[in-house]
């Protein structure tokens, strides 16, 4: 039995070193359920100061792993001290999807806020967002990078799968035009932690061109 302080962030959250941001988020949520101040399951088990220390460790692990830059730095330190093998981290498997019925929607911590931090620190996503127009395929590649299943987007935005697929496939004839499309695009962008107006205007610009 290792004490918590001796665990690395991945061990602490009980995830693999190649876990996607969504998996990191879910693992954190699970641990939070276990240790937060009002958790029934751990009621009275820890003195208050020990509980605070554990929660601080979890927060630290979470914020480090949710940011692409700080995560890369942390991984390098693990590789240097021999905890992590280099080949494991060559390409983080960001495309893996997770259970769409995640507990995230019940959480006080919004997944959207957490995805935002990945978006802002991810070079690939930033490059797409810097372009003047955005295609459906590019939106899909951002979604894949974030590891968010389309079902999750449909559930959050209440936009039908049919329309979301049409947006990603650039099948304009299948999408209701005008104000509806703009609304769908905004909801889609917001769900993925992107700037809703930017997504809508650049997609519509490409469509008109």
């Amino acid at each position: 039995m290792k004490t918590l302080e001796k665990l690395n962030y991945y061990e602490l959250l009980e995830i693999a070193p190649h876990a996607s941001p969504l998996e990191v988020h879910q693992a954190y949520k699970e641990m939070y359920d276990l240790y937060h101040d009002d958790s029934l399951a751990s009621y009275s088990f820890f003195p208050p100061e020990e509980r605070r220390e554990i929660l601080a460790m979890l927060d630290e692990a979470y914020s480090t792993l949710m940011n692409v830059k700080t995560r890369a730095g942390y991984d390098r330190s693990l590789v240097e001290n021999g905890t992590l093998k280099t080949d494991v981290k060559d390409r983080p498997d960001m495309n893996r999807t997770v259970d769409a019925k995640s507990p995230a929607d019940q959480s006080a911590l919004s997944i959207r806020d957490n995805v935002k931090s990945v978006v802002s620190s991810h070079p690939g996503i930033q490059e797409i967002l810097a372009r003047e127009t955005i295609s459906g395929a590019e939106l899909k590649s951002i979604r894949d990078e974030l590891g968010i299943p389309l079902e999750e987007v449909a559930k959050t935005t209440k936009v039908r799968m049919l329309y979301l697929e049409a947006i990603e496939n650039d099948e304009f004839e299948k999408i209701p035009a005008g104000i509806f499309l703009k609304g769908f695009l905004k909801a889609y962008g917001q769900c993925m932690g992107l700037d809703a107006d930017t997504v809508a205007s650049r997609y519509l610009k490409r469509m008109k061109d």
């Binding site: 276990l34 958790s39 029934l40 009621y43």
Partner: protein, 321 residues
Amino acid sequence: MNSINQSRSECTPFIWPIGGGKGGTGKSFLTINIGILLARQGYKTLLIDADLGTPNLHTIIGLPNPKTSLSDFVNKTVSTLEETVLEMPVHNLFLISGARNKLDIANFAHEQKMKMLRAISRLHYDYILLDLGAGTAFNTIDFFTLSDSGIFVCIPEPTSIENIYRLIRSVYIRKIRQVLQINCFRNLAGQAEAQNRDAVIQHPEYLLTTLKQIDPEQGGNIEKILQAFQFKLVVNQVRKRDNPRTGTLICKIIEKHLGMRIQFIGNVGFDDRVHETVCMKSPYILKYAHSQTALDLHGVLQGITGGTNRQTAALAASTSI
């Protein structure tokens, strides 16, 4: 079926102490109903009312005036513990009641207690379920030394969970002490307890950490022995709005922080009719055999017997001889 049971009963019985820390969590409820289910599966099953000071297993099972009880053995009115065993209306089910225990029995002398524990471990049954009293007194905790197994019952309320953790920590430290009684560990125990006195009282997990620091090899051995225990957790009186994962989370806390394996074997749903069956002095499972709560109890039974039907295994063994 009898011959199979007799041959099984010649082996060491599976002894399951059932504890809950707090009163009213359903220890007696579980003991009776699981006992009946075990007996119906063909296991020769003995229920012992080990709630020495405030016994009432006999009342729940509908036997208001048992002729013999545990105190007859403690007071030497009878010479063997077997003589206090009562037959139950359910085939294969037996009871050692506490109904006639003297009021001060819970404070009986150490030798008497050791004599009783030895006698229990020598009984010939397939399963022995010990319905323990509330609290964490020595006389409750000591029943856990009889076996490598134990069932903890709690309800999803902070008061019950607070007490279940106290009970589990008390059992944990009793188990460590039991292991440390073995000669080769005795010196190590003295050193560790001297170094970390707080651990012995509030946080037994630190005792193991200290042991491992002083002597990593022997500390590791003790840890292995502790991990071999088969503890189970049942969450009783679960209502629709309760988090069904509380039991899983409790087990996770215990594994992570006490290094002790404990398996969550099920939620048992709250049913108003339990109260009614207690008032009627009739076991719940006999009256409401097909309710959701009864199904939950079957799930708990599977968790106890390991999900395998040993009756079938025993039958196969006996036919091959």
